[in-house]
Symmetry: C2
Subunit: 369 residues, 2 copies
DNA sequence: TGGGAAGTTGGAAACGTTTCCAGACACGAC
DNA sequence: GTCGTGTCTGGAAACGTTTCCAACTTCCCA
């Protein structure tokens, strides 16, 4: 009913007391019970609610945290964002989503924009990192927590994972299953994940335990199903005469799904003829048939930890420069499971319990509306 | 290098001119070239960048828009958010993500919180709507655009779709393919989507063209793969002796995937024996094998339109109360496609071109990092 | 009864910005 | 030479809040 929003001054006038007392009364600090009573009455009467901007100006605090990534639609980032929001909201912080763009220069630009002071901190997960960006982060006027590379040595809070090691886990898993002719299906090498995962594969296949086995790598044009399909088709066509791979390690779940399609196209079975692993442990992989063995990089946990670091920095008295690593975790599902006698002639596997429980249950209610 | 952020006052002092002139010079309004030159120099020298809070206080404008939904991890909402961000960012607006909670009362609470003035507008997609919520939205101190129910008659901007009509499209598509024994696989009826879609199925199967055919409905516990699997298993077991359905209309993509699993479990083929349709046209459905015929409800477009409405309301001089409906759009894929001779004995379909192009291509680079 | 302490209150400043208003100045026209 | 017009500049107010500081009251104890 009140035409416009009521201000503290109006509440003070209505209560017939000073502005200072009004503020104190509403905060319950050093005000007599009578005063509190009186001011509260006036406040509710006018439907007063404090103005966030005025408050921020005075307190030099926005109660906002930015979350910046290259692509806010990427399921991995969505998981992070959800976790970040869950941690920050109870502490009274709002989450502002931002995009970094693809390049480090646009990311530098974004970090620089922090100087206008619209957030109290930023959680940043850059696609690529260079010295200029690191320097910009160091000089940022508010704390920046980086999800990605370890930057503790530069005095920057960071949360990292070990995707290279994760690829290693996938490789060892396949070796343990008796697979001997591995192919690594990677995405573009000039990306941070592509580079790291390649390094992981190279390291794992140079290890002693792998001595004497065959390991090849192919590079898909993109981290997509289509690219994985195309690259695997080419791979299988080329290796037709020679020794066909009996396992494919894909650099992410979408590539893995593309690979599975290509394998099946040739009348081969997954996992009997070719086992396939993915990475990121996305819902798509969990739901796919066969459900995907995948290396989880703990996106949710990384988001959660980054948010907790932010809270410590902003509310608490923590010093910047801490670092947490979230270990990769292999989740074994049908795409590498020991062969099971299929009920039908080919290809079809029993729907495993893996789907619809555990991880998938988190997604209850999703996908509609 | 500057210890703290420079303020406009400091720039003014440095330039040796008044505060007012400094502000004008930086905005290029009514200042002499010499003044502009002088102030610019001082500003860059000090690394000045305007304070967002001070600016907001004076201008009564936050350059922020809230996007509020029940579950920010839901792919449908993620699509909306991405579109909203894409529209708003070029206009200089930041996006703040918020959660409504499951109930209308918590949603009312959220809308009420707008009175602290931390955003210039809100885009709200509530799970449920009641009169109290509508009233609260009407009285909100900033424009609220609703994605969901049509509320133009209440003077509220809204963007809706027609999920009931979408179910109708799916039904007619299946009838056109010669399917005659349809089952509707719905989620909980006490949700807005569940209720609307049920209405759509009932209407479609009461239509003339459907006269004489069989139509049943089953309700899954949830809008999830697991619930769809369980419900369809029960359905198929019950109809074993009698006439088995030859088509399943699922209320969303996850239910549809569950249904496909259950159908295959019994050694039946999709789409040959049972055709299946989903709804929401999610990436999961596009990637699944068989790729899913699904009714798109245009999440991206609804988000885009809502954001454009916001821009008109906040930057322009638009009046509240407009309404846009985004029509449902059936996307036909393998799960209902005319049967194709499979290369192997059973079940396997050729990977169709549908995957990896068009819709999937949007997702380039996703799913990793 | 005087005085200090403790508790309450109001005035005023401050946060950083934009903009109204009035004054100063230059310039051209009469 | 004067006046009017137009351009530019600076002072000051305003946005809404919190908090420092001083002043006032009350109360208790010496």
């Amino acid at each position: 009913m009140t035409s416009s929003r009521a201000t503290l001054i109006q509440v003070a006038q209505r209560a017939g007391v000073s502005l200072a007392s009004t503020s104190r009364a509403l905060h319950g600090t050093g005000a007599s019970p009578a005063m509190v009573e009186r001011v509260r009455a006036a406040a509710t009467e006018l439907g007063y609610s404090p103005d966030a901007i005025g408050r921020s100006l005075r307190l030099k605090k926005t109660f906002q945290v930015a979350f910046a990534v290259a692509d806010i639609g990427n399921p991995v980032y969505v998981e992070m964002m959800t976790a970040i929001h869950e941690v920050l909201a109870p502490h009274g912080y709002r989450v502002v989503v931002m995009t970094t763009g693809d390049t480090t220069t646009s990311t530098v630009e974004l970090v620089r924009s922090l100087s206008s002071g619209f957030v109290d901190a930023m959680i940043l997960s850059p696609l690529r990192t260079d010295d200029e960006l690191v320097e910009e982060i160091r000089q940022a006027p508010v704390p920046v927590v980086v999800i990605g590379r370890t930057l503790a040595d530069r005095g920057i809070d960071s949360v990292s994972t070990d995707s290279a090691g994760g690829i290693g886990e996938a490789v060892r898993h396949l070796l343990g299953l008796g697979r001997r002719r591995l192919v690594f299906l990677n995405g573009p090498l000039d990306t941070t994940p592509g580079e790291a995962r390649q390094r992981g594969f190279d390291a794992a296949t140079r290890a002693d335990e792998f001595a004497g086995e065959r390991a090849d790598a192919v590079v898909a044009a993109d981290f997509t199903v289509a690219a994985g399909l195309a690259a695997t088709r080419a791979l299988l066509a080329a290796s037709d005469g020679g020794a066909r791979p009996d396992a494919i390690v894909a650099a992410n779940d979408l590539l893995a799904i593309g690979a599975i399609r290509a394998v099946r196209e040739r009348g081969l079975s997954v996992p009997d003829d070719v086992a396939v692993t993915g990475m990121d442990d996305t819902e798509i992989g969990r739901v796919f048939q066969p459900s995907l063995t995948s290396v989880s990089l703990g996106s949710t946990e990384r988001g959660r930890i980054a948010a907790e670091l932010v809270v410590d920095l902003v509310d608490g008295d923590a010093q910047a420069g801490r670092h947490t690593a979230v270990g990769p975790r292999l989740v074994v599902r049908e795409s590498t499971a020991a062969a099971v006698a299929a009920p039908e002639a080919s290809g079809q596997h029993q729907a495993s319990d893996a789907v619809g429980h555990g991880a998938t249950a988190e997604a209850a209610g999703r996908g509609t509306r």
